[in-house]
Subunit: 202 residues, 2 copies
């Protein structure tokens, strides 16, 4: 377990806060003093929630989503369409898709993307689980919803390659100018994709 300078609990707390994403030394100091100035019950509650979060949250054995039980809320819900599975890189992506209300199937969370430079190769992606599900659950379509970044695209290509022999339909979410986007300020790659993916109307 990490141990900071035991002589200075504020410095220790600040150092730990500063490891959070987007939190620099200044912000970490401000957070420490805020916690010290607030009621002790708050620090106790946040401390307890953090200390037990890894025990209380488990990965769904089927899809990898986070939940309190071994099978997640979405996998247990009989109203979800089991014939279509959306493959995402991380749970926050799943949460964003759920909030949008645009998908009523089930999920498969990779918990990562191909990143050869960071040592994450094809073997680290849990595709055996997804292949297993395709064989057993009557899945007809897999929607690849990894990010539209270089790593997300490479991962989508790889997953497509691995799943093809299983005879399921494989799709990729659309890429283009986002809602409310001004063409003037849209990057060239996005504009290129928007034209490639154009659809006939009327």
């Amino acid at each position: 377990m990490y141990r900071g300078d035991p002589a200075d609990p504020i410095a220790e707390l600040t150092e730990l806060f500063a490891r959070l994403p987007g939190v620099g030394e200044r912000t970490a100091t401000r957070l420490s003093f805020h916690v010290l100035g607030a009621e002790p019950e708050y620090a106790a509650a946040l401390g307890e929630a953090l200390a037990h979060i890894h025990e209380r949250v488990v990965r769904c054995e089927r899809c990898g989503n986070y939940g309190a039980e071994t099978t997640c809320r979405i996998c247990r819900d009989p109203r979800r369409d089991g014939s279509i599975v959306c493959c995402v890189a991380r749970v926050p992506d799943l949460v964003a898709i759920e909030k949008s209300g645009s998908f009523r199937g089930r999920y498969h969370v990779l918990h990562g993307l191909l990143a050869p430079l960071d040592g994450i190769g094809p073997d680290q992606l849990p595709l055996d689980g997804l292949r297993h599900r395709i064989e057993r659950e009557g899945i007809e379509e897999v929607v690849l919803a990894t990010p539209l970044s270089v790593e997300g695209e490479a991962t989508a290509l790889y997953v497509n390659q691995v799943l093809k022999p299983h005879g399921v339909r494989i799709s990729r979410i659309a890429s283009g100018v986002p809602h409310g986007g001004e063409l003037e300020f849209t990057d060239q790659i996005t504009l290129g994709r928007a034209f490639e993916g154009r659809r006939e109307i009327g």
Copy 2:
């Protein structure tokens, strides 16, 4: 003690993170998922540091600074000049002054400012302790280093009024254009103060 929804530990943790200053719902969600994705030791260490911060950090009985013992590091240091005391609103202000290296006396922390609209009146400011110190410690000067805001100025005026009968010299930190400040972008009140506080040179 605060208890969030026991059925959703991630939502509970997110709600607690969102009570930190400058942390909105989006950032809080990101922090929760970051903690879940990081090694469990980190969450345990931060949780423990938070849970015990109010036990491990106490206010100095003499000056109100935070420390591990009943008398703080600065009050214990015999090299500090005991004849001059700097009066600040909050401990982070003390820390900033210490970092600047511009003051070698001791401190007195008010842990607040006059704020009649928030119900913080003159009785809530711990000035009895400061008056007691003036009588006993041979203090010759009190530097008022409360913020240059409306509440900070009002508090400085009030502290000045209370301490005057004790026959100590009372000063206020200078107000003016900050280091590197462009006059073009300096507000009118600051410019006014910079002219009022001008000093003869050469």
